[in-house]
């Protein structure tokens, strides 16, 4: 009983001290996947993932026992990403305990967690802390704004074409990002842009099914089998 209490207590202890900014190198076997900067507060953590110096930053926030990924149109739960995506495997371990429980093996030094090892699907992911500093990150860095409607389906193939509610997705405004229905008189054909967006929204109804079939028969993409 006492041991169980100790385990529960250990699980609730923040991986990283509040008010810190740490940098981590991510490797899968011998291959470096990228670098993650982690901001820690007293109730949440934020991870900023870059695969290369010039590549775009992917932002993840751990709060309330869930890990979230920032996407166009709002934040989605990391657990809804494809299971084999490195982000889904690695990020929750760094955002624990605010982003949920983690079964990763954590090694610590005098400053806190220094190395995290995660085994998944026969692969070993290693996170190695490369720096640790104090940080005064503003609370807004840890705010989660869930994506409306499609939070549970992001990163499934169908959702790559937008939310399932086509009346919402019909225009750029429905994309939840950018200026709603942007139409300017600058020499561009905005009607044609809207036509493309509406067309994709219309196709979206059957696209999951069509895309799955398309990929299965062609043995390409996420549904090729054997992935």
């Amino acid at each position: 009983m006492r041991n169980l209490a100790m385990v529960l207590l250990a699980a609730a202890v923040p991986l990283l001290s509040p008010g810190t900014e740490s940098k981590w190198k991510v490797t899968k076997g011998a291959t470096q996947l990228g670098n993650i900067t982690v901001l820690a507060s007293s109730s949440a953590s934020r991870a900023e993932w870059k695969t290369a110096e010039k590549s775009p930053t992917e932002i993840f926030i751990g709060t309330g026992g869930k890990s979230w990924m920032r996407t166009t149109g709002g934040d989605i739960e990391v657990s809804t990403l494809k299971a084999d995506l490195a982000q889904r495997i690695v990020v929750p371990a760094l955002l624990a305990p605010y982003g949920g429980e983690s079964t990763a093996k954590v090694e610590s030094d005098a400053k806190g967690a220094s190395k995290i090892t995660i085994k998944s699907g026969g692969d070993t992911y290693t996170l190695t802390r490369t720096s640790l500093a104090q940080s005064n990150a503003d609370a807004s860095n840890f705010t989660v704004r869930p994506k409306k409607g499609a939070a549970g389906r992001i990163a499934s193939l169908g959702d790559l074409l937008g939310p399932s509610d086509t009346s919402v997705a019909a225009t750029a405004g429905g994309r939840g990002v950018g200026t709603k229905g942007l139409h300017l008189s600058d020499g561009g054909d905005y009607d044609a842009v809207e036509k493309v967006e509406n067309r994709d929204a219309g196709w979206q109804k059957n696209l999951d099914k069509v895309l799955t079939e398309f990929q299965k028969t062609g043995k390409v993409g996420r549904n090729r089998g054997g992935e």
Binding site: T72, L160, L161, T179, L184, D186, R224
Partner: protein, 286 residues
Amino acid sequence: MRVTNIAAAVLLVVTGTAQAQLGGLLNKLDPNKIAKTAKVAREAAREFTEAEEADIGRVVAARILNTYPLAKDEKVQKYVTLVGDTVAAYSTRPTLEWHFAVLNSDVVNAISAPGGFVFITTGALKEMHSEAELAGVLGHEIAHVTQKHILKEVKRSNVMAAGMVAAQSTSAGSQWLNNDYASKIGQVAIDKLFKTGLSRSDEAEADRIGVLLSDSAGYRAAEFINFLSTLQKLERTSAMKQLMATHPSPESREAALKPVIPSEPRGEVLADRWSEWTVNLSSGSS
């Protein structure tokens, strides 16, 4: 002694004048203007937000679609969307709202706009022989989007800073894009896409990532080399003029890519499926 006194007097006068001038200058400086200038500088240096990227993408896409109309062949539009979605799922931005569209033009080209718009001409499609070639070309354009190459050019052109000044001087309100500002952004993008091209390193990066994406998606990456070989044969034709002005030569691209292509042939070519979906292209009803 007398000389020293004169020198000291001259120094006092000079110093006094300099102080007076400096004081005058300082009096003329408006703290509000300094703050505004600093804000403009900050704006010019910062990264675009996703919302701004989406707006810029619409502006650029609208300019592209004003140059080339959409192809009417819905079958080929769907096909390009299916292949594009298949490849984009392996990019670093799988959750972007990708839009793939075919433009009706004999010009051989493929272009992209920020925010996830990818276009390919019927002229380019007619020169392909397999779905894997299409996957390689779309992968190249997807890479331009994920690596934000056009956004980088917009930023470099200082349009952002100019736009901030315009917005402040006109108190344009919450909408950050006005016609003039959008027109400038559109022009920067159109110049790069149709006239001068992106940097050689950006094109090389897009080639490299494009091949990796098509390979990851299960296509035979070497098919992209086949497409470059076709382009090489067409180099002197009028349909290739735009592509040749905006991209490195097909030979140099081919040479740079060879080390990246998997040495063992792997992945799907899907030439038959290509023929089935693009049957209307060859009949000229696009």
